[in-house]
């Protein structure tokens, strides 16, 4: 290939195109003007102008999570980069592939406290999977290709490339993304077959087995989800999933027990507690899931499949560790299961299912239905009914509404559920829904929100309007920071310190001021009509303000520091008595 001289900014555009990028989420500023100028002079890359850099990253996360591709962000130096930090850490915690390009002051000014200078690589080092500062334009193309490779390989994550302004202006040589052979970073995707065989033998002997799956299955791709569904059917075992893994196994299938963890179902948590063989696929024994570690699934043998070796034996010691990609591991497991003509212990399994049916009969998601006030669970049930059979994506903010959405909205396929699990970032949902809507213009993209969370990135309504992303913002408005209020009620003597939002905006007028549609339901009888109207509007974003019961709490709940079998089903179970003092310090 003849040597081609391009400016740094042109190299950026060319590298992005060669990486198959079609959408960038960003916000311009002094230190990235050359790149914005190069963007202006081409038509292949579409730039989505956000209203705040944090939202650029969340939108890219929504795009990445809903497509399986790498999300791309472009921000300026200093405050542009620091605003993006929350989004970067969010993507790191939830293993979302992001490449974030940051402008930087020119190389000769680095370290001089120049205008809009920040030590971006220093600040983002613990918030990213990896980061780069490119000081020589001739390293730019290779570094960008490497950034994409690192972001999407192994356990995916965010990668920052810091680009000094003089490097963007300088002329350099472009290199195409020939199959990157990274010097050091080559994650193991193929599992050790001996371990898989060990796992298969253990699974075949199980009396009270359970699949516990996580976001790793979604990240592994749709094939992993298919193989998981196949293997669950072959074995006949029950399956539960973490918040991040919802959708990898269809919720309508009979083996599905619902989500597990702090606000997971009674049956999922008790099945975890009493299981004798746990098959963890792509989950990481997070504290929201395990509860009290010393009493976590006490009588069980544990198999753990994870692409990240550092996730194995981090919180929970396991019996069969398997490092590798979920799809590869599942494929090998199914093959060996068939080859050895394995069959689950049917008698034991029937007893196990009988026990599980009894737990299911407790109907743990039941709530007191009233005609006088809209229950948030009711609003979500009605949303569920109206979305049935449709092509939809659900994003959420963070808090009670997020947990209710996880409990009440069923997912039949992976990549449909966009939520901030690890970091728990309020303000995630609206930009994430916009990112998903940009990627899937014909689909229904709903942000299930609370009135407090939505205000953290409400400015993104402007983005949604400008780029014709007709997202639906479904606000369960209880006037409180609901989850904070719930913990204060249950654990801090109902002293509602700073959790009541006075001076809330009129969300209908707020929506209208941005030329969005604004709808409101204050009575139970209005909910269906409002949802129908929301779904009928497709030419602009819709904000729906549902006035829900301000005092409703989210159950089931495992109090901090407690084991799965101490799960509380409703307000009749006294939480403060159930919470040990050492559990109070846990978040």
């Amino acid at each position: 290939m003849p040597e081609q001289k391009l400016t740094g900014a042109q190299i950026v555009i060319k590298a992005l195109k060669d990486q198959g990028v079609d959408i960038i989420f960003g916000y311009p500023g002094g230190a990235v003007l050359p790149i914005y100028d190069a963007l202006f002079q081409q038509n292949d890359l579409r730039h989505i102008l956000v209203r705040h850099e944090q939202a650029a990253v969340h939108a890219a996360e929504g795009y990445a999570r809903s497509t399986g591709k790498v999300g791309v962000v472009l921000v300026t130096s200093g405050p542009g980069a620091t605003n993006a930090v929350t989004g970067l850490l969010d993507a790191l915690c939830d293993s979302i592939p992001i490449v974030c390009l940051c402008g930087q002051v020119p190389t000769h000014l680095i370290g001089n406290d120049a205008f809009q200078e920040a030590d971006t690589t220093g600040i983002t080092r613990p918030c990213t999977k990896h980061n780069y500062l490119v000081k020589d334009v001739n390293n730019l193309a290779r570094t960008l290709h490497e950034a994409f490779y690192v972001a999407r390989s192994g356990r995916p994550g965010p990668v920052v490339v810091d680009l000094p302004k003089d490097v963007q202006f300088a002329d350099g040589t472009y290199v195409p993304p020939v199959e990157v052979k990274h010097k050091t970073y080559r994650p193991q995707v193929k599992p050790d077959i001996a371990r898989i065989e060990e796992a298969v033998e253990l699974i075949a002997q199980a009396k009270r087995p359970i699949f516990y799956t996580g976001g790793g299955v979604v990240n592994s791709g749709p094939i992993a989800a298919k193989l998981l569904t196949q293997f669950v059917k072959m074995t006949g075992f029950p399956i539960t999933s973490t918040l991040m893994g919802l959708g990898a196994y269809p919720a309508s299938e009979p083996h599905w027990l619902g989500m597990l963890g702090m606000h997971g179902t009674y049956e999922a948590n008790l099945a975890m507690y009493h299981c004798d063989v746990m098959i963890n696929i792509g989950a990481r024994f997070d504290d929201r899931v395990t509860g009290k570690l010393s009493e976590f699934a006490p009588g069980s043998k544990k198999i753990h499949i994870d692409i990240d070796p550092s996730s194995i034996n981090k919180n929970v010691a396991v019996d069969v560790p398997i490092v590798g990609d979920c799809a590869h591991a599942l494929e090998d497991m199914i093959r060996i299961w068939k080859a050895r003509q394995k069959r689950a212990d049917q008698g034991a399994l029937a007893d196990w299912w009988n026990q599980i049916r009894k737990w299911q009969a407790r109907n743990c998601l039941n709530y007191s239905r009233t005609e006088s006030v809209i229950k948030p669970q009711y609003a979500l049930e009605r949303l569920r009914e109206s979305l049935r059979g449709k092509d939809f994506y659900i994003a959420t903010e963070v808090g009670q509404h997020q947990m209710w959405a996880a409990q009440f909205l069923p997912f039949e396929a992976p990549n449909r559920w966009l939520t901030s699990g690890g970091l728990g970032t309020m303000g995630y949902g609206l930009p994430a829904a916009i990112g998903a809507q940009i990627a899937h213009p014909e689909a229904i993209c709903v942000d299930v929100a609370g009135e407090a969370s939505i205000l953290m990135n409400i400015q993104e309504l402007g983005t949604a309007v400008q780029f014709r992303a007709p997202v639906k913002v479904f606000i369960l408005n209880n006037q409180y920071m609901g989850m904070v209020r719930q913990w204060q009620e249950l654990l801090h003597g109902s002293r509602y310190s700073q959790s009541y939002s006075e001076a809330l905006p009129d969300f209908v007028k707020l929506a209208e001021s941005w030329h969005c549609a604004g709808l409101r339901a204050t009575k139970v009888g209005e909910v269906d009509d409002v949802i129908a109207e929301m779904l009928s509007i497709n030419d602009r974003p819709v904000v729906v303000d549902i006035a829900v019961d301000p005092k409703e709490n989210c159950f089931p709940m495992i109090p901090g520091g407690k084991a799965h079998n101490h799960i509380l089903l409703g307000p009749e179970d006294n939480v403060s008595e159930a919470t040990p003092e050492d559990g109070m310090v846990l978040v």
Binding site: G122, R125, K183, T184, Y185, P309, K314
Partner: protein, 170 residues
């Protein structure tokens, strides 16, 4: 699965790309995750390929030590992580410069001890010596401890460098 609460001390060698920020990544990992560093040394060992070798001494339960190695290994510029404590016998050495000031009998005693420890005199004045000592960390501890009674002014230590015994390499 080993999982007990005994604190073990491990010497870990890490081969990394010598690129800006790599040491900060390693140190940030230890501070961010609350691991101990008892000593850490780093220098380029392969000029052509820009490879540096970090030797660090850390302590923790078996589960924590395994976690430290896994976390180090997943840093992008890390080529290899080797637990010298686990992988058979190894040689550990540390270099120290030890300054002692004094006169008369004290001075003679310092020299005599230096001789026993095979420490070299690398600077001498009428009232002071700087000794250069190479040895295991315990030997350096002993020598510095003795010098403390003979007019120790200051000591500077490199921290441990280590290598496994036998023909095998990194």
């Amino acid at each position: 699965m080993v999982n007990n609460d005994t604190i073990e001390k491990h010497t870990i060698a890490v081969l990394v790309d010598n690129e800006p920020g790599v040491l900060a990544r390693v140190i940030g990992l230890f501070s961010g995750r609350g691991y101990n560093i008892e000593s850490l040394t780093v220098a380029e060992v392969n000029n052509a390929d820009h490879l540096s070798r970090i030797t660090l001494v850390t302590s923790g339960t078996r589960m924590v030590v395994e976690q430290i190695k896994a976390q180090l290994d997943r840093l992008v510029p890390v080529h290899r992580v080797k637990d010298l404590t686990d992988e058979g016998p190894s040689v550990e050495r540390e270099l120290a410069l030890v300054k002692v000031a004094g006169r008369g009998e004290q001075r003679i005693e310092a020299l005599r001890l230096a001789d026993i420890f095979k420490a070299k005199v690398v600077d001498a004045t009428l009232t002071s010596f700087i000794f250069e000592l190479t040895g295991t960390p315990a030997e350096v501890d002993d020598f510095v401890g003795l010098m403390a009674q003979l007019g120790l002014v200051e000591a500077s230590r490199t921290g441990v460098v280590a290598m496994s015994k036998g023909p095998g390499g990194f």
